[in-house]
């Protein structure tokens, strides 16, 4: 019987989120036979994401097609516990994305270069030869198939089972290092400025923050994140319902999703023989805001480019692939380490400090306000952290 898959590929990419899509595109463009596996039945759905992304980070990974972007964002509105609104220009322009359109579009680019794509198809195990990974156990509908390959890229998101199986210990052990989120797509939301809004205060959300990101088409992503400590008491969906009633009483939900973001440090080991892990699966994200799209895309691009060189040289050993680990550590990894430090400080900030900061900022000339002013004020009792904050946002 003809199998629904080839028996062997140069590269298998597990997961077709932003990271997996970019990895598959990179392999296929460079002429390597590629298989992209996606567990969900449709690429890009469901949208477990606020869809706000920095322009610089996105364009570093890929030249975005205008159809991926719903609009450009030039400012952010911070809303204090008592509802004081402070508008701050973005340190750099940002985009609101249409993620399903973007992800399908990047996967189409991979397909144009003959990558094989399977949806509704789950990677359930890894094949091993001596010390190296040499394939994936795939569940294609009801059929279990072993598919061989020279390299596996794990882009399987928050679950990160592949890295676990490869021995890279990707379990999030400290429950403070995961943000549990719930999000509605809503209509009937009004905002005076039309900027993405970040809402703070224990009356709104016990820790972390809540967001309202207008999509520019009459809908918005309205969501929040909490830590495990808070989730033990009340589910994020209940807290989200309260937030919506309080701040956006006219909002009507069109969709509800849940999901989690990594808020700790990225994995110590990012590679094994014939194996690399990227994006959320590698626990790469900005720990301060949970944003992970650009981390996912840029880590996948870097990993796949190094993997292409390694494949051409015929050496996919752990040592050869560890170039990725080093380059990540010395590049974007540093940014994550700083954001981790800041997150720990910000979580300690109490409502009265935020309120006081808002009162000071509201009286300043908005055109001269900087993102950093807000951080400086909220972490003002911890001078060492201000230095870190400057490094992060300069």
């Amino acid at each position: 019987m003809k199998l629904p898959l080839e028996q062997f590929y140069d590269a298998i990419v597990v997961g077709a989120g932003p990271a997996g899509a970019i990895a598959a595109k990179t392999f296929a463009e460079n002429g390597f036979s590629t298989l992209l596996l996606e567990k969900d039945r449709e690429i890009g759905l469901p949208v477990r994401c606020g869809e706000l992304v920095g322009k610089r980070g996105l364009t570093l990974a890929i030249n975005p097609d205008p159809s991926w972007i719903t609009h450009t964002v030039n400012g952010v509105t911070f809303v204090s516990p008592k509802g004081v609104r402070v508008n701050v220009p973005c340190p750099e322009p940002a985009y609101m994305l249409n993620r399903p359109v973007m992800e399908k579009s990047i996967v189409q680019m991979a397909a144009k270069y003959n990558a094989d794509i399977r949806v509704g198809t789950v990677a359930v195990g890894l094949l091993r030869k001596k010390d190296a990974i040499c394939g994936v156990k795939v569940l294609h509908h009801d059929m279990a198939i072993d598919v061989g390959c020279r390299i596996v890229i794990a882009a399987d998101g928050i679950e990160s089972r592949m890295a676990k199986l490869a021995g890279l210990n990707s379990t999030i052990t400290d429950l403070n290092d995961i943000g549990i989120c719930a999000q509605y797509r809503v209509t009937n939301v009004e905002s005076p400025e039309g900027f993405p809004e970040l809402h703070f205060g224990k009356n709104i959300v016990p820790d972390c923050y809540a967001w309202m990101f207008p999509k520019g088409d009459g809908t918005a992503n309205l969501g929040l994140g909490i830590t495990a400590k808070a989730a033990g008491k009340e589910s994020p969906v209940q807290i989200l319902n309260r937030f919506m009633t309080l701040r956006f009483p006219k909002a009507k939900p069109l969709a509800l999703t849940v999901g989690s973001v990594p808020l700790g440090l990225y994995l110590k080991k990012l590679v094994a023989g014939g194996f690399m892990v990227v994006g959320d699966a590698a626990r790469m994200a900005n720990c301060l805001d949970g944003g992970g799209i650009t981390f996912a895309m840029n880590s996948a691009k870097l990993a796949a480019s190094i993997a292409c060189e390694a494949l051409s040289e015929g050496d996919v050993s752990e040592k050869r692939l560890s170039v990725f680990e080093k380059r990540w550590k010395n590049g974007v990894g540093k940014q994550q380490e700083r954001s981790y430090l800041l997150k720990r400080a910000v979580l300690k900030v109490n409502d009265s400090t935020i309120e006081a900061a808002a009162e000071v900022l509201i009286n300043k000339d908005p055109s001269k306000l900087k993102y950093i002013d807000l951080l400086k004020l909220t972490v003002k009792n911890q001078p060492a952290l201000i230095l870190e904050a400057i490094k992060l946002f300069k």
Partner: protein, 63 residues
Amino acid sequence: MKKKKTITFDIQKCDFCGSCVAVCKTDALILLETSMQIEQDQCTACGRCVIICPFRALTLEDA
């Protein structure tokens, strides 16, 4: 004999978000396309997935 709790899963409540898999230290939870495979032998009844699940689809019950 000490009663061991077992993990139970309500597929009606699950959104397949994968958060529980991220925190399970023993790889007892395997999320498939539209179902969850639970390796009861591997589960230590630690309750971490129960806290994390946004829809309370996982619970610990007396065995």
